[in-house]
Symmetry: D2
Subunit: 359 residues, 4 copies
């Protein structure tokens, strides 16, 4: 298979950089274009991420590959999408609303932005969870008369919760979900991101628009396609999203009322077996298991578990019966918000869509 | 009124120090005895809290009063409780189990330890919430043939939640409670307390025994006296207790299903009016309001709100309808875990019991 | 004495807010004007500091006085300085360069910005250290044909070091100074300030322009007036300025080579006695001592010592002989960067200038 | 070459675990014995590091190899050193004083403890810096009539400084050194280690005994062997050691007066070329360069640079002329305190001694 040519749009931002960190030497994809705002256009990538004061603002733990360092950055507004097979878009929501349809007319777009997540003909993929929603891509193309399509990944906080709810829904049915998140600072990016003066020795109990996203996206992802649209899952989802002094890795405390009584071991077993068919595809970015269940009562912890499976595993622990809900269970999960929850999750989606012939 | 003579037992620990910080110049109480473990006995208080390497281990923000600095520390095991009118006990649970009954034979004991919280004839007071439980003290005295009694304050995490649930229970009735705490490090004390290597850039999603305490104490505090014992409140309470990199101030995310539909404004109003009778007593450590409701969507925050009312106010915010529970509301609270949630809360209890003639 | 009318320009920023926090009920000064950028003009102060998302961005620990909360904020560019007796200017350096001379034509300006610190006829005051430089104000007025003047306070990092060097210079003479700072995040303000992703679990070893300021200002402050200009102190100063995950309070590790051998006790004694004449003036914001010397080997610590004397005391500890320098001593100091090192320091300067008839 | 059998003594501690993390699959060494205190004896390693509450206390980022997880832990006091070819000792200094000579009678001991660092016939190795001191091992054997020997690695704070001073000493000569460290919490281990309540939002400006160690060890490491003993380097070293809220990676701000004037580029060049002979040995744990010089003015940073070269590289930046010292330069370095500064440094020493026939 020849490699697909891909553009990373919004390449200089925190999410964009994660694409570069993960695509060096990728077996399916070859970055041929980096694009960003006019401010960066015409510079090499290294120049574009170097501040006036001389700081190299590369924020990934992985090194910046030399091949990308010297690439010229294009102006996203000028970039011709017909020159690539696939666009990874990692721009702010307002920019996404303008740029992504322009790209999608010609080329598939996989996006980390929320701009199109709630449109009727747009699926929100989580690899291993709702591949069947891919049939919506043909509907979208037809509706909009596009050669490409837009498919966003979910909000980083939705990711871990939807991943762990899917096997519960499939095996036991879900009546209610309540979730409190303790989110990492990286989710807010860097301009300005979370200010140290606000978060050191503190918790910020509100992240604008986050709770609505989590509630709505979870229902959509766990919904079913009915007559060319997604019928959202019917169970209610209640979220409270907070920010804590953690760099990477979202922690979520989840309370679920199930449709029938279950033993905790059944729940763990459903998680441990989850995703076998998807994992059997052997996609390059897929981890060995989508979900790992820890028996250590003090885990999962964001610092110690966020990098499990290269940041692609959702770690679940403290699985207990909930005394307040009907057929209730409760648990804690950790999911890497800028890996599985953003760029690497988008790449895994792209791998699936490429392998299944959608790209 | 002559001042009551009080002993602080466990005076050198984190909780004990908070008693000293709050009792200097107190209008009702005069510390006449400091007691601690044999290791400290015979030293001045300053010597007792100075490490071998010369560090003065006074941990309160308030200065150490000179009058206490030079007091001799007694061995708690040798201390004669008949020499004081009241004992504030701030020792570990195992020590409390042994020491407190010995003291209580002669003298009232107000304790921050959990050792006796779950005994049938022992009330757990929260000032303003359940003063009526004071009648249990007479029962306890009679049962045990003591001149004094033991009355513990609740766990620091129970404090804020029970405080905010009480007016909801009174006005609307409660069906279910689910709570996720984001607790400060000071709750674990200092020997060893929370280790920096565990908590920087991290969350620890488990605090041994904490959830059981919160669930059980909340039901007891909000219960009713029936035939000389407390009939716990019947609604289920589900807690998940986590530790976050915050120095002081517990944050709690609470989901409540009420007995009847209510408007959010009714809820806020119930909180704002709560405790008027109790506050009218004008006790020295009581704040102007027990509960403050903030309209800032980004509050309450532990660093910015923990010191409200000298650490005696519970601040509530983000009050919203909960989409997943029947007649559901959800909110976030911040309560100071070592002030209202420990020593200053115990002092407020003592003030009430002194004023009402129980001491 | 009637109170002087003062304007706080740049009132909505971090430094500006500190002026408001410290001037409520001040015996000498009455805020009659708040001014800020055009974005805030016409709003009440509360409106001006409330974000679009509804967050009240008041960052001081002290409450916002109601009297200031409802004042209308003027556009700094339009504000008429003849309406006040004194301007406290707390704006960025670029804005200061434009605004401050316009104000100074009519009215004295005390500034936290660096824009005019290095001009020949501009003194940089530290209360208690170099009041004699006040004679330069008359020179400045004459040179520039202004009725007012500009007098900036030093950089927050200069403050603690110059304070502790002055008595050493006076008593023993100084040959060389080397200093490493561990600076708090508040020094960078909030737009954007220090980003949490950069500083959690980290140190940033560079603060642009900071080292040059510290070196140059220290020599100027400790210099002498010779023929209507300041002859800087002749000893070299070498600084390395770093940022650490601390909210408030700069820590500085200082190595000094003195002109003659001294015993450590002489050094401590010089510090303990420092500023007696100045303190005898009884200015409202002056602490009981300018410098406190701690014998606890683990102190000073920024969190535990920054608020000494209401943030106006420089705490010094770990005073030792230095084995590498001629007549060397070394020590650690903590100074509150946004109190003595900014707004409250400027207010203390104003109190001195008012009392001594310069305003 | 057959692999050497090695014991890790003190295997359950923070430093001991780092040996396990680094020795899995090592080409020269095979762990055949794990030993620790009697408390752990008889348990599997996994049991020994599991707390009563069920927490698996494995603290390395690298996974625990299954081969070590199920090994039985011996009592260090009972362990027979003749059963192995080499002992890695990672115990507290008091235990080291007793155990290490017992082992060394039979077997070479490479130690992370300070107990024997200051004995006349004991070298303190830093790989690449002072291999020539190996001749002292024969002296030690003869003096003490041992078949083995004890050779400790330096204090973690000495490591980075001595590494960067060595090429300066060789090329330019050194007159004076002043150093301020900003040390990570991991250096204090975990029982109790640095307590979160002490270090969050804080700096602790004192680490008992650390400064003396750094001063003395640096002079010894950079000294010369003269008549069977090390003649310490003659230049004075002054250190101030502080603790900051950083997990791993020591930052050091160094001021050096050289014997002759040098250009900054000469200094950088000396660092970049340093250790070529040593690196040419191709030892398994050696990085590509011992010292890396960064031109980014905001680097080195502990979080971003500690893992350079697998934690074996010392990163140097901010290299500038020092205005206060004769022929002065100043710079900032970051060195990984538990990798190059402890276990991995000890392994690199072992590799060198094995390859050069000393083991």
């Amino acid at each position: 298979m020849r490699k697909l040519k891909v553009a990373v749009v919004g390449a200089t931002g925190v999410a964009g950089q994660q694409f570069l960190a993960s695509l060096s030497g990728h077996p399916y994809f070859e970055i041929t274009t980096l694009a960003a705002s006019p401010r960066s256009a015409g510079k090499t990538f290294t120049q574009a991420i170097t501040s006036e004061a001389g700081a190299c603002q590369w924020f990934c733990a992985e090194p910046l590959a030399a091949e990308f360092a010297r690439m010229k950055v294009l102006d996203a507004a000028q970039f011709d999408p017909t020159t690539v097979d696939l666009v990874f878009a990692a721009v702010e929501s307002d920019a996404a609303r303008e740029l992504e349809p322009r790209f999608a007319r010609a080329t598939p777009v996989i996006s980390t932005a929320s701009a199109y997540r709630y449109e009727e003909d747009v699926p929100i993929f989580i690899p291993g969870v709702n591949q069947s929603h891919a049939e919506l891509l043909a509907v979208q193309r037809k509706n909009r008369d596009w050669r490409g399509f837009i498919t966003p990944v979910p909000n980083c906080t939705t990711m871990g919760m939807a991943m762990t709810l899917k096997p519960l829904q499939a095996a036991f049915g879900i009546r209610q979900v309540l979730m409190t998140s303790l989110q990492a600072c990286s989710g807010a990016g860097r301009s300005p991101g979370v200010v140290a003066l606000d978060i050191i020795d503190n918790v910020i109990p509100y992240i604008p628009k986050e709770e609505e996203k989590v509630q709505r996206e979870t229902q959509k992802i766990l919904g079913q396609i009915v007559e060319n649209r997604i019928e959202p899952a019917a169970f209610p989802v209640s979220a409270t999203c907070t920010r804590v002094p953690v760099l990477e890795g979202h922690t979520e405390v989840v309370y679920v009322s199930l449709e029938r009584p279950v033993a905790i071991e059944e729940v763990k077993s459903a998680w441990r077996q989850f995703g076998a068919d998807f994992l059997a595809l052997g996609l390059p970015s897929a981890p060995a298991h989508l979900i790992e269940v820890t028996e250590d009562p003090f885990r999962p912890q964001p610092r110690r578990d966020r990098d499990a499976g290269g940041g692609m595993v959702t770690t679940v622990g403290r699985v207990r019966t909930d005394p307040a809900l009907v057929n209730g269970i409760k648990y804690v999960l950790v999911s890497h918000n800028t890996k599985m929850g953003a760029a690497k999750g988008a790449i895994l989606v792209a791998e699936y869509l490429a392998q299944s012939g959608h790209i």
